[in-house]
Subunit: 149 residues, 4 copies
């Protein structure tokens, strides 16, 4: 309830890092979304600000992502948005995370050959919250991921 | 302005139909989104209502879609939602269309190999409205597409 | 899961109809969203297609809506989108419904004085689906609502 | 193009600050979105993480917001999401901004009396970007706003 869902269209900014946890496997990477503005005077599109997000994908989505996605590739990322503030080394830091529920290569930028996976794990129950499990296990986002750009 | 953006997670319900128009090539297909509900008594997810949409994709997105997507494949579709009412054969019909801006195979359901395309056409200018161009040309959605399920 | 969330910015097209059901009170009305396009030649915005939706709001949201909203007022409507096809009088009809989770008067069009309600009913449990309850009770959307424009 | 639209449902965390700029008036405030999770063992909803955003609203939306909204009130905020990184005092800071396009009091939490405004200013042209104008004028978000919680 009160979840903020968001759809990001952009590019993978760091290598996908995959790890196993007690809550299931998770893939994480930094993702870049560059706004584009129509420049009336010059009659063309120009790049605006680039927003960076840390995307997490759990279980089968995470495993398939790790097997399919490389740095620089264009993706559509759909998921839940979360802004966290934490103390790190005596400073207050802001982290912008997306817990992905569906991800695909953006076909406006190229072609893709899809191969359906056989489902080998049960779907999660609604009250499971990977963030909470990860926090309890101490498998939070590693610093090198969240500060990379 | 006042555009309604939507992200659909579901499956391709009809073959992708591609055609050339003066506004550029366009790919169209029917898309099915099935809600899933947690059944507390039985302890499992069960299928709910299935919503059907007619998805249109223009220019390079349309061409890449036609080259990459088959019936039954799972997709993430991001675009502008539009509900139209028209008289057909003396009856009022309702059409639910999505003008896609980004589409990808849903990696929660399988893996994909992506191949970047070389861009060969300019990006559209903001005031171009493919719907209007299509309407003027008489290249509206063919009846067999909108009534298929 | 696989819910399609949508945010509509538009105007109330019919009077809000409120009724009590075993699943709680529900408010329903038709809602109009008019796309606007930038006309480069004339240097102004012009109206495009108008999309119509049937919005339902349950429990406290429904009661507050019925007490606050009049025909013609501008709203922001956030909720779950659902497209249904049904046989009516031997014809196949398409209905486009939004089950609202949050609704407010659009302050880009005017001012509003807000008054917080004392919460008198418990929040719903996650597995409750008002649509299902309504269907079982036969309290589906009345014909005059879905065909009004 | 590539804009990330988002709808936030939450509460106003700081007083609305309104100021005039050459790009028009702008209202700004911090906004808090608290996720809620279903606790299966205890059979109730419990609060999760709170995400904070800096919301900006320009022109008539900004003026009406400043005249209508107080700290603590529940809102629905629809707009464009932007994550910025800046050097401040030798440290890299992350800012999460929403440029609002429509905002309303959340009627799931109370009632509202709406009063339509007479439009006295022209709608913006599509290529205007308030962020850019603000940056050129040096009317960026004041530090006390972005660090407040």
């Amino acid at each position: 309830m009160n979840d903020t869902t968001v759809t990001l269209v952009g590019n993978v900014a760091t290598a996908v890092e995959y790890r196993d946890t007690a809550a299931g496997g998770v893939a994480r990477f930094r993702f870049a979304v560059t706004a584009r503005r129509w420049d009336r005077e010059r009659g063309l599109w120009s790049d605006g600000n680039t927003s960076f997000y840390t995307v997490s994908a759990w279980r089968s989505l995470g495993a398939n992502l790790a097997a399919s996605v490389s740095v620089g590739e264009p993706l559509v990322v759909h998921g839940r948005l979360k802004v966290r503030e934490e103390e790190r080394d005596g400073q207050r830091k802001t982290f912008v995370d997306v817990d992905a529920t569906a991800v695909g290569h953006d076909l406006s930028r190229g072609t893709a050959a899809f191969r359906r996976a056989v489902r080998t794990e049960p779907a999660p129950q609604p009250e499971q919250d990977p963030w909470t499990v990860a926090a309890e296990e101490g498998t939070a986002v590693p610093p090198q991921l969240v500060t990379a750009s």
